[in-house]
């Protein structure tokens, strides 16, 4: 078999720019600060839910970037792991008395199952070629989605599961009788900071993983599989391990999502719509930098709130023209995101973060 050409052009490097790096740093610092003080800066349940979503999707997108940007493999099963983590918690808390014990048990089961499944898919498919992984992950994810909506007794079917969280995390809980800085110290706030801190910890863990020699080997494999193998690195092993780590972190993000919503169903964590969102986040933000994934996630979560209203306005403006009105229908937002996605892969393959930043020490 002739050697596959390396992923030419997939990781085009932007010219070095101090200004770009400064802008990127400022953006990231702003994101971190906004998330850290969200309950005080943006009061209101809706704003806090949005901030929690951003924190969770930053982790999910970053873990996906480990696969896509560092290992150079495309998985379509990433939301499956997200869903398994969420279902682990949902099933445990719905079945047993909702306490910390059930929560930890469910989370551990979900994360463990995800890592096992990811390693299995990887070992089955990566022995052949990396593209087999894409196809196998798509097939397995479809099966998982079908099972989640069919096994009514376990998962609640299409309706999903509603459950109670440990008392300290429920909205009725009061830590202090008096508000601090105008914010009530209730269960909602505790939930937010639990999500934020765990998300931050997971993100730092991923950063550590990709900047360790392990991450460098992944990049070497991505750039030239055969050379990496010739240097003595077990390509299949490294890729499988990366896949298992990414799956474990995705499942942890799923745990956080379940805690946030106190509900889980196939559409909220497992659907292919979320998979598409995830691809968009990582590609728009910039593959292979983790920071890009973080920016992309924040951008996409915010954009989802505004894009539909923008399309609504356009549709009203184009109401007289038959085809144009259909194109700007608020339900067609995925069409426009898809087009943006394709254009970005063509013209800005390095994404937002990559265009702003030259990866130091790599040239």
């Amino acid at each position: 078999m002739s050697p596959a050409p390396p992923g030419r052009g997939a990781h085009v490097r932007a010219p070095p720019g101090r200004v770009g790096r400064l802008v990127l740093g400022l953006l990231l610092a702003a994101l971190l600060a906004a998330l850290a003080f969200a309950p005080f800066l943006f009061p209101g349940t809706r704003a806090m839910a949005t901030a929690s979503r951003i924190a969770i999707f930053v982790v999910l997108a970053a873990s996906y970037d480990v696969l896509l940007g560092y290992a150079g493999i495309v998985s379509f099963a990433h939301t499956m792991f997200f869903g398994i983590g969420a279902y682990g918690v949902a099933i445990a808390l719905a079945r047993f008395t909702p306490g910390w014990g059930a929560l930890v048990l469910g989370a551990a089961a979900g994360i463990g199952l995800s890592m096992l499944l990811a390693a299995l898919i990887a070992l089955l498919s990566l022995r052949v070629r990396a593209i087999f992984f894409s196809m196998l992950s798509l097939a397995v994810a479809s099966v998982a989605l079908t099972l989640a909506s069919q096994l009514r007794d376990l998962t609640g079917g299409e309706d999903g599961l509603t459950f109670s969280v440990p008392a300290a995390l429920s909205p009725g809980f009061r830590l202090l009788a008096h508000p601090v800085l105008g914010v009530r110290l209730d269960g909602r706030l505790l939930t937010y900071y639990l999500i934020f801190l765990v998300a931050l910890g997971l993100f730092l863990f991923l950063l550590r993983v990709v900047n360790a020699p392990f991450g460098r080997v992944l990049q070497a494999i991505r750039e030239n599989e055969f050379r990496a193998e010739a240097l003595g690195y077990r390509v299949v092993l490294y890729r499988s391990l990366a896949s298992a780590i990414a799956a474990g972190v995705a499942a942890s993000a799923g745990v956080l999502m379940a805690l946030l919503l106190r509900y889980n169903g196939p559409a909220t964590t497992m659907s292919f719509a979320i998979m598409v969102d995830l691809l968009l986040m990582v590609v728009i933000g910039g593959m292979g930098t983790l920071y890009g994934a973080a920016l992309g996630a924040a951008l996409m979560v915010l954009a989802q709130y505004y894009l539909e209203s923008l399309l609504q306005a356009l549709a009203e403006a184009a109401a007289g023209l038959p085809l144009l009105a259909a194109l700007f229908d608020p339900d067609r937002w995925l069409l426009w995101l898809g087009l943006i996605f394709v254009l970005i892969v063509y013209f800005f393959p390095a994404g937002l973060a990559g265009s702003l930043r030259l990866r130091a020490g790599e040239e």
Binding site: M1, S2, A4, P5, G7, R8, G9, A10, L68, G72, V74, L124, S125, R127, V128, A130, I131, F132, S134, M135, L136, L138, A139, V140, S142, V143, T146, L147, Q150, F272, V276, L279, V283, L323, A326, L327, D329, D331, R332, L334, L335, L337, G338, L339, F341, V342, V345, Y346, P349
Partner: protein, 324 residues
């Protein structure tokens, strides 16, 4: 196919035999017939996918979109020919079918040409970007089919003379399935014949094995590929059209749903191999019908389990391509 590769070919009769004890003979006959017919339809759609991969090393995630477009075009043509569809004569029904299938194949072939030129040509050799671009194109195509044909499912009336069934030994075999099976078989025979016996087929096969050498001999493999790409997408459109009539309903999600089955087929068969994907399609068609009868919820699971089993046994699929 090499000598000594007979074991995979036995998989189909073995599966047929293995299913017999699990159900009554009449059910078995009905399910086997419809499974083989479904397999032939899947082969129609999958052959293009596997050829395109084999020749140019392009994994086209948009392939399912061509199937979906084919189905929608067929539904539109079908709706405009109510006279031919409802006519009791076989000839009139076949004419309607030919019109629907022909229109779908022509339009999808043309779209395939444009798609290769605008989208695929820029990402040759870069797998990661190929997957990303074609997935993006799939999203856009699916949304466009909603824009053009609306969000609701379209229904197709069964052709009058093909809706009834033959009764053989107590098992019912719908006549339309025979037509579908005949078409799939004809496509397989034609593809095998063209690949094995004609000059173009020779160059295609050589291009699959060693593209650079064929180019060095003066053949324009890229131009050949454009041709193969168009044929592949035309077959996908034809398969989609037949599927639309077979299922009686078309939704915007059809292409995406079939993509999973098509990937299962080509991975089982061995990426790039036409005969392999024929075997894979028959296996998937049969398993879908058998398991769909015994435990309806587990049909997809059974197919993916089959794929995992095949990959464990032969990591490159049943009849893999041998590249030098």
């Amino acid at each position: 196919m090499r000598a000594g590769d007979t074991a995979p070919i036995l998989a189909v009769p073995l599966l047929l035999l293995a299913a017999l004890p699990a159900m009554g003979f009449a059910d078995w006959l009905t399910l086997s017939a419809s499974g083989l017919a479904m397999g032939m339809l899947l082969f129609l759609m999958a052959s293009g996918l596997t050829l395109i991969f084999g020749l140019m090393d392009v994994l086209n995630f948009t392939h399912g979109a061509f199937v979906g477009f084919g189905a929608f075009i067929a539904a539109s043509v079908w709706a405009r020919l109510p006279g031919l569809v409802a006519a009791p004569g076989l000839a009139a029904n076949l004419l309607a079918l030919a019109a629907a299938g022909g229109a779908a194949a022509l339009v999808c072939g043309g779209l395939g040409l444009a798609f290769e030129r605008v989208v695929i040509r820029r990402v040759y050799g870069a797998h990661l970007r190929q997957i990303l671009i074609t997935v993006g194109a799939m999203i856009v195509a699916e949304q466009m089919s909603v824009v053009i044909w609306g969000p609701d499912a379209l229904t197709l009336a069964k052709p009058a003379s093909l809706a009834s069934s033959f009764i053989v030994a107590g098992g019912a075999v719908e006549k339309f399935r025979l037509v579908a099976a005949a078409l799939g078989l004809a496509a397989f025979a034609a593809l095998r014949l063209v690949l094995a016996r004609t000059r173009i087929g020779l160059v295609v096969r050589a291009g699959v094995e060693d593209r650079e050498m064929v180019e060095a001999l003066g053949y324009r493999v890229r131009r050949l590929f454009v041709f193969v790409f168009a044929v592949g997408t035309a077959l996908a459109g034809l398969g989609g059209a037949m599927w639309a009539v077979y299922a009686g309903t078309v939704t915007a999600g059809l292409g995406g749903e079939l993509t999973v089955l098509l990937f299962t087929v080509v991975v089982i068969g061995g990426l790039g191999s036409v005969s392999g994907s024929f075997l894979g399609a028959l296996l998937v068609g049969l398993i879908t019908n058998y398991v769909g009868f015994l435990a309806p919820k587990l049909a997809l699971l059974a197919n993916v389990a089959l794929m995992a089993g095949v990959l464990l046994w032969r990591p490159r699929g049943l009849l893999p391509l041998v590249r030098t």
